[in-house]
Amino acid sequence: MSENLTPSGEPSYLQYKGRYRGIFAWIFSTDHKRVGLLYLWSIMTFFIVGAILGLLMKMELISPGKNIMGPQTYNGFFTLHGIIMIFLIVIPGLPAVFGNFFLPIMIGARDVAFPRLNLTSWWLYMLGAVVVLTSQFTGGGPPDTGWTFYAPYSFQTPTNMLPAVTGAFILGFSSILTGLNFIVTIHRMRAPGMSWFKMPLFPWSLYATAWIQVIATPIVGVTLLMIIAERTLNIGFFNPALGGDPILYQHLFWIYSHPAVYIMILPAMGAISEIIPTFSRKTIFGYKAIIASTVAIAFVGYFVWGHHMFTSGMSGVALYTFSILTFLVAIPSAIKVFNWVSTMHKASINLQTPFYWAVSFIFVFMIGGFSGLVLGALSTNVHLHDTHFVVAHFHFIVFGGTGFAFFGAMHYWFPKVFGRQYDAGWANIGWLTFFIGFVTLYGPMFYLGIAGMPRRYYDYVEVFHGGNIISSFGAIILIAGAGIIIANLVKSAIYGEEAKQNPWGGITLEWQVPSPPPLENFDEIPHITKGPYDYS
C-alpha cells in the first residue's frame, strides 16, 4: 500500500477532491492543512517583497549621499518594509502556517474547533494586506511614519495613513480569531489521554501565544481607531494642542506591540523545542520547565512595553519599573536555552538541515537577547536609543529568532506537508549562505549604533562608511541564501523524492500519520498513554 494513503485508503489532503476545483478548492477550503498552506504562500510572497525593500534600503546605504533613492522614498520604504515584515509575516508567521497545519494533528484532532472561522481569518488577513498595500499607490503617497505610526506625526503627515492604519486594524481581527480558535481547540479537542502535561511543546507555545493574541491585539485595534478618529475628526487624544498626550499613544501602541514580539517568538521557540529532541534522539530536558517558561514569558511579556519609551519622557518610577520587569523576562528565555543545550548534551545527534537551523537559532537569539539587556538598562539605553544598535538587536531577535525558526520548521515538517523530501545538499548550502549573510548584515549594525549612527536616515557621514559597506554586502549574501532556500523548497515540493512517513524518527503524533496526511488526519483518534518525548 502506498504511504500516501491511510489504512482505510483515504487520499491525502492534497489529492482530496471536494466541492470546488482549482484555486477555489484552496481559497474556500476549511481544512486546517489547506488553510495553513494558504498562509504559507501568502507569507512567502510578502516576504519576498519585504526582503527586496530591505535590500534596496541597504543598497541606498552602501555609500554616503544619495545613491538610488531620496529621503522621502527611503522613509516610505522603511515604513512599508516594517509593516509587511511585522504585520504580514512575523506576527501570523509560525502560528498561522505551522500552527494551523500541525496543531490539530499534534493533539490528535481532525481539525481546529472552528474551521470556517479559520478560513475567515485567512480572508481577513488577505483583505487587511490588500488595504495596507493600497496605501502605497493611492492618496498622498506612501506612509512615512515607520511601522509604529507614532503620534503626533501619524495624524499630521500628508501621506496616505488611513489605508495603512485601517489595514493593520483588519489584520488584528485575523490574529484574534486565529488565537481564539487555537485556545478552544486545545481546551476541547485534545485526544483522549492527552492531559496538559502530555501535550507537545509546540501546541503549548501556540496556547500561550493565542492568549496574547486574544488579550493584547484589541488594544492596538482601539489605538489604531483612535489614530483614524484623530485624523478624520480632530478629537485630540494624542494632540497636545487639544489637551492630548502623544506619550499615551506610545503606551497604547507598545502595550500590544511588545507582547506581539512574543506572538512572534513563542511559537518559534515551540518549533525549536520539537526539532532539538527529534534530532538529538532524546527526551527534551526539563519539559515542565519549558512549559513554565513559555507561560512566564507570555505573562511577564505583557508588562515590559515601556522599555521602548525610555527616552520619551516617562516618569522616573515608570522607568525603573519597566527596566526591572525587562530584566525579569530574560530569566524564562534563558531557561529555555539551558534546556535546549542540555537536551543536546551527550545526545546521538543526527546532523540534518532542521538541526542546523535550530542551533543557529539559539546562536542569533542569544546575541539578540543579550543586546536586549543592553537596551533594557536605563543608562545604556539613553545612548543607544534610535541608533542602528536597536535595528541590529530587533533583527537578531525578530528575524533571527522567528526567521530561523520558520525556516527550521519548514525543513523539519516539509516531508510531512508535501509528502516529498527536499535536496539536503542545497538545503545546507542555503542555510550556510543565509547564516553568513545574516551575521554580516546585522553584526556591523551593533558597531554602527554604538558609534552613534541613527536609524531611519537615508544618508550618513563618512565615518560610518566601513560598517555600512560590510552590512550592505551581507544583505546581498542573505538574499542569495534566501533565494537558494526558496528555490530548493519549491522545486522539491514539485519534483522531490517521495518522503517516508517518519523520515526523522520523530515520536510526536504528526509522525504517526501518512506524508502528506489524509483529509481528516487520523482513521481513528489515537489514545495517548505516554509523554510526547518519551524515547525510552
Partner: protein, 95 residues
C-alpha cells in the same frame, strides 16, 4: 467531566434587573463627571465600567452557571488588564 456547567433557565426578570443595573451605573458614570475628583477621575470611571462589565458577564452571559474554568479565564484577563492600567499610571501619576 461536565463541560457545559449547571443546567439553567434564567427568568426574564433577571434580564430586566441587569438592564436596570446597567442603566443606573451609566447614569452614575455620567453624573460623576460633574464632581472634580482630580487624579481619581479615571479610576472612578474605570471602576464603574468594570462593574457594568461584570454584571453583563456574570448574569447576562451566564458565567455564573458555567464551568469554573471560564470564570478563571475571565479573571485572568481582567487581572492582566488591571495590571496594564496600573503600570501605565506609574508614568502618569509620578510624571
Amino acid at each position: 467531566m461536565d463541560n457545559n456547567g449547571k443546567p439553567h433557565i434564567v427568568p426574564y426578570k433577571n434580564h430586566i434587573a441587569v438592564l436596570a443595573v446597567l442603566l443606573i451605573l451609566t447614569a452614575l458614570s455620567v453624573a460623576v463627571t460633574s464632581i472634580e475628583l482630580g487624579p481619581l477621575t479615571v479610576t472612578v470611571a474605570l471602576l464603574l465600567a468594570t462593574a457594568k462589565a461584570l454584571v453583563v458577564l456574570i448574569y447576562f452571559m451566564h458565567l455564573k452557571f458555567d464551568n469554573i474554568i471560564y470564570s478563571i479565564m475571565v479573571a485572568f484577563v481582567m487581572f492582566s488588564i488591571i495590571s496594564i492600567i496600573v503600570i501605565t499610571f506609574l508614568d502618569y501619576l509620578f510624571r
